[in-house]
């Protein structure tokens, strides 16, 4: 697909990939780190770390502000990163790429700027598997009389697709849906949902925070109006993320924040907005972050998203096969590696999720426990919390084995 990618069926050398991530060779509690918290944030390869370091040492300067050499070079690199992002998700133009802090800010931007156009009685359609960041910004619109609807979740962790037909009305103006669930790992059929939304005259926002690290993204094929993601969940830095939106849609929207960069002309009482994408980028952006994200994308391209997905499926199959060995374990989400990524939420009978995470930590295993910012989904599952092991392509079957041993210890402690 991309230049320089590893040929489709070439075996990915995982140990070589791992050696690019300095933190993966750290010891935790005297044990080798088993980092299974990638859905919270992935680690960064040395290429990304060095790019940020190099920027601050060699080209640091503000962008779009000066004509001096450094500012020109910083601007070039910043805009090259934007082009890189555009290519990575197959956007039509870099003008459709808005740099933000992360997925949360991207969704807030849309809820505010597109939300301004909504009227009393309009509706926004979400789902029960959304992260709070794809719920709360929409709740702000309830103040002006906008109503929220929720598509349900089946027992197997998939979306109740039929709900879209029942819940879409003429009043539905935005459908917003996670591409991949951060709790269940489910991959949702966003192309199909986009079709349904458009047939009914609604726009669709796809929350790509958990999909972009695992599967290759083509926003034109998906035909989404908005696609939001975070750099830090795809080997890039924290504090940088992207809102993709169709140019035609962005043209209809007012800015989210006021400030420098977003204006062409400022009078005392009003201003004229700048061209895209700058209209939505008020203030000095996270320049080093954007450059780091560009390098993370280069890294993913070299490895190849097809390879990443293939390794991920292998890890999913192995985990789903071996985790039941622990006994008294409930694993949530689809059972088929086609329909999910390698993110596993589970509960051990008799052991609270928090206690599981604390005990496996003794074995160097980093997992998360809690509600994962998805309380409506926890309620749907009927549990206060889950433990979550979220893997990435640089994880190994041996690490899954270690993890399973540590889970057995947790069971012993509480038996």
């Amino acid at each position: 697909m991309h230049m320089g990618s590893v040929p489709r069926n070439m075996q990915l050398d995982i140990s070589q990939m791992r050696s690019d991530f300095p933190i993966l060779s750290k010891k935790i509690n005297g044990k080798p780190l088993v980092y299974f918290d990638n859905a919270a944030t992935t680690q960064r390869p040395v290429q990304v770390i060095q790019a940020i370091d190099r920027f601050y040492r060699e080209t640091n300067s503000n962008v779009h502000r000066g004509v001096h050499e450094l500012s020109e070079r910083a601007t070039e690199q910043f805009e090259a990163a934007r082009e890189n992002v555009a290519k990575f998700i197959n956007a039509k133009s870099p003008n459709e790429i808005i740099f933000v802090r992360g997925t949360t800010e991207a969704i807030n931007l849309v809820a505010y700027s597109y939300g301004k156009k909504l009227r009393r009685g309009n509706r926004v359609l979400l789902s029960l598997m959304e992260h709070h960041s794809n719920i709360v910004p929409w709740q702000f619109l309830r103040e002006k009389g906008v109503e929220l609807d929720y598509v349900g979740v089946n027992d197997d962790g998939t979306l109740k697709l039929e709900d879209y037909y029942g819940l879409m009305t003429k009043q539905t103006k935005i459908v917003s849906i996670a591409h991949v669930s951060n709790v269940l790992g489910t991959i949702n059929p966003v192309e199909e949902i986009a079709k349904i939304a458009h047939e009914k005259g609604s726009l669709i926002l796809v929350d790509g925070a958990q999909s972009i690290p695992h599967v290759s993204i083509d926003v034109q094929e998906m035909d989404c109006d908005f696609f939001a993601f975070s750099g830090h969940k795809m080997l890039g830095p924290t504090g940088i993320g992207v809102l993709y939106a169709k140019e035609s849609v962005l043209e209809q929207m007012d800015p989210f924040m006021g400030g420098g960069s977003i204006i062409k002309e400022v009078q005392l009482n009003e201003s004229k907005w700048n061209d895209l994408p700058y209209k939505f980028e008020a203030g000095t952006p996270n320049i080093a972050g954007a450059i780091g994200l560009g390098v993370a994308i280069d890294y993913l391209n070299v490895i190849g998203m097809e390879n990443i997905r293939r390794v991920g499926k292998g890890l999913t199959e192995y985990a789903l096969e071996t985790l039941p060995e622990v006994g008294d374990i409930e694993i949530y989400g689809p059972k088929n590696s086609e329909d999910r990524v390698e993110v596993f939420s589970f509960n051990l009978a008799k052991v609270h999720a928090h206690d599981v995470a604390s005990i496996v930590n003794d074995y160097g295993v980093a997992i998360r426990s809690g509600h994962h910012c998805a309380q409506p989904l926890m309620r749907r599952l009927g549990v206060p919390a889950t433990s979550r092991a979220s893997l990435y392509a640089y994880n190994t079957k041996e690490e899954i084995d270690l993890f399973i041993q540590s889970l057995k210890k947790a069971k012993e402690v509480f038996n």
Binding site: H352, D355, S358, N361, D362, G370, H371, Q375, P384, A385
Partner: protein
């Protein structure tokens, strides 16, 4: 942190919580939860004057939050109510007898926080600010 957190006394209180249940005629009922993990406790007090005649709690959550609340009820039963107000984070740590990191500290403090907030509107145990 980790395994040594699950000392015998902690597991004992978790599996056999003391003063677990509801009182018939409570003077006050105080409820709170830890938003981080959804741990919940509800503590009831029966006071005569300033003395805690009886105490009971219900709840659900991790071993640390539930064991800590169980131990706390044992510590305050029969004491003056002012005793609860003076309780500090350090007292909870000594009571549990284990070392605890900043995240799990919130679990450990849930019971105390519930009472101090419910009774006096205290925002956090008095030396929570020492938490690095």
């Amino acid at each position: 942190m980790g395994m040594d957190m699950y000392a015998e006394n902690i597991l004992d209180h978790y599996k056999n919580p003391r003063n677990f249940g509801k009182l018939n005629n409570p003077t006050g009922t105080y409820k709170d939860s830890n938003p981080l993990c959804g741990d919940e406790v509800e503590i009831q007090l029966q006071l005569s004057g300033d003395k805690i005649d009886d105490v009971a709690f219900t709840g659900r959550g991790c071993a640390i939050s539930q064991a800590s609340t169980s131990m706390l009820t044992e510590q305050i039963k029969g004491k003056e109510i002012g005793h609860v107000k003076k309780f500090t984070q350090q007292d909870i740590v000594s009571m549990l007898g284990i070392s605890i990191g900043p995240t799990r500290m919130k679990c450990a403090l849930l019971g105390l926080r519930t009472l101090q907030k419910g009774l006096w509107g205290m925002s956090a145990p008095s030396d929570l600010t020492n938490l690095q």
